[in-house]
């Protein structure tokens, strides 16, 4: 009985820590992104709130909470309220299966350093990432605005072009690791990171993941200069904030997944495991910011063409070659 309670408390503790770190990091990713984008464009970026603008995320938070929460006339009330929550919720939930360290022993209990080591962790993540698009599509539809609707439609269209290659790019990983559990996948990279074994998969995964996070160059559903702000155009205040948090948590999730699938997850010398994971997440996020600062937005049909004509065939060929090599060895 007692051990059950300790286990439960530890689980809650883990969730609280992960959630806290995620949200804090999301806030400061926004700051880092604004700062870096500014430097890419030879500007300063936020530098008024606190030293180097470090208090900017807090100021933004206060602003968003105190803003009026508007709902357009004729919006579908229930779905309109639900959509931002779906986006933030699925993004946060994906982190449940991301491992951030070896099992440790605490209070005579084996504590796995992951909130839940699902044996279908990879499927769980792909499922949730597809669910996240519902937030976009429904939010765009429920707003009763043509721009939002176009954004939502584009979100759905974008999903069908990257989802497939996202899934296919991970199959070689699963074939090598022999497991769908993220913990096992990390452990399979003890000797060599998968990025060196599967560079093609890595590139396909990164491109699909960027499309999934709906950031430039794949921010087709938002497309500020065509659609206003796309699917979240009618949202204000904290509801918009949820979309925003969702996007940045998503960035971290993708960073974490890239780390887990290709960069050896929590493994690294000297520093404790969670710190290594954090470093890798931040590195991937910084690269994503760099990409955002450099590339222009793709057109709707260009994304489709890349997804279906390049990424999917490449991923399929990659699977076949990987399978052949595994058979031979």
């Amino acid at each position: 009985m007692a051990s059950w309670i300790i286990g439960f408390v530890l689980l809650l503790l883990k969730m609280a820590v992960v959630l806290g770190v995620l949200l804090l990091l999301a806030a400061y990713l926004v700051w880092a992104e604004r700062k870096l984008l500014a430097r890419f464009q030879v500007r300063y970026g936020p530098n008024r709130a606190g030293k180097f603008g470090l208090l900017q995320p807090i100021a933004d938070g206060i602003k968003m909470i105190t803003k009026e929460d508007l709902m357009p006339d004729g919006a579908d009330r229930f779905i309109f309220l639900l959509a931002p929550a779906v986006v933030a919720f699925t993004a946060l939930l994906m982190f449940a299966v991301v491992p951030f360290g070896e099992e440790i022993t605490l209070f005579g209990q084996n504590v796995p350093m992951v909130i839940s080591d699902l044996n279908v962790g990879l499927l769980f993540i792909i499922a949730l990432s597809s669910l996240g698009v519902y937030g976009v599509a429904l939010g765009g539809w429920a707003s009763n605005s043509k721009y939002s609707l176009l954004g939502g439609i584009r979100g759905a269209a974008q999903m069908i072009s990257y989802e497939l290659s996202l899934g296919l790019s991970l199959i070689p990983i699963v074939m090598i690791a022999g497991s769908l559990s993220l913990v096992d996948i990390v452990k399979a990279q003890q000797n060599v990171w998968f990025i060196f074994v599967q560079p093609v998969s890595f590139v396909i995964f990164l491109i699909s993941a960027m499309a999934e996070s709906k950031r430039i160059p794949f921010d087709i559903p938002e497309a500020e200069n065509e659609l206003g702000a796309g699917y979240h155009m009618e949202y204000s205040g904290m509801r918009f904030g949820l979309f925003f948090i969702g996007e940045y948590v998503h960035m971290q999730v993708l960073g974490a997944l890239t780390a887990v699938f290709f960069l050896g997850g929590w493994q690294g010398p000297f520093l404790p495991a969670p710190v290594w994971l954090l470093i890798k997440i931040v590195m991937v996020a910084l690269v994503m910011i760099w990409i955002r600062g450099t590339l222009p937005r793709l057109r709707y049909d260009q994304l489709m063409a890349i997804g279906w004509k390049v990424l999917v065939p490449a991923a399929l060929i990659n699977i076949v070659i990987t399978g052949a090599v595994i058979l031979i060895i």
């Binding site: 870096l36 430097r39 890419f40 030879v42 500007r43 300063y44 760099w290 450099t294 590339l295």
Partner: protein, 179 residues
Amino acid sequence: MSSAIEALKALAEGFGTTFKHLGRKPITEQYPEYKRPLPERTRARIVLTCDPGGDERCVACFLCSAACPVSCISMEAAERKKDGRRYAGWFRINFGRCIFCGLCEEACPTSAIQLTPDFEICKRDVLSMVYEKEDLQVNHGGKDREYNFYRYAGVVTLVRGKGEHVKETEPVNIRSNMP
């Protein structure tokens, strides 16, 4: 194949460019700390200037108010007892409406109304954007220091009669001017 290589080269170039920018000093001017010196003819806050003698220039001719596209100038004309000069009894510009187009300055025959480069006139209370004559009148000639309307224009006042203005010839004697 060659197009793929070209695309990769273009990508690398783009990423290189943005990366190099990281090391550059931002060109942003940090506004409240650094105020860029503005050209003298920048159009912002309006003043009413004085002629070299120290008299106010405005003769309340209403031309600026007529030229103003947003009708934000209003005034009342008055006449000075001691020399017959006209002046504005009161003069009011509503900066809440002024678009700083400068048409008033162009219309003014006396160079009285002038725009200055001082653009920092944001206020929280919209009524405090209405400037009265006391707020507008300055004691210098602005951009046109030498001009004195009454010395040039042939307007008769108690100070100068007919033919006494600068570059003005004596009035023609209509009786000696018979054909």
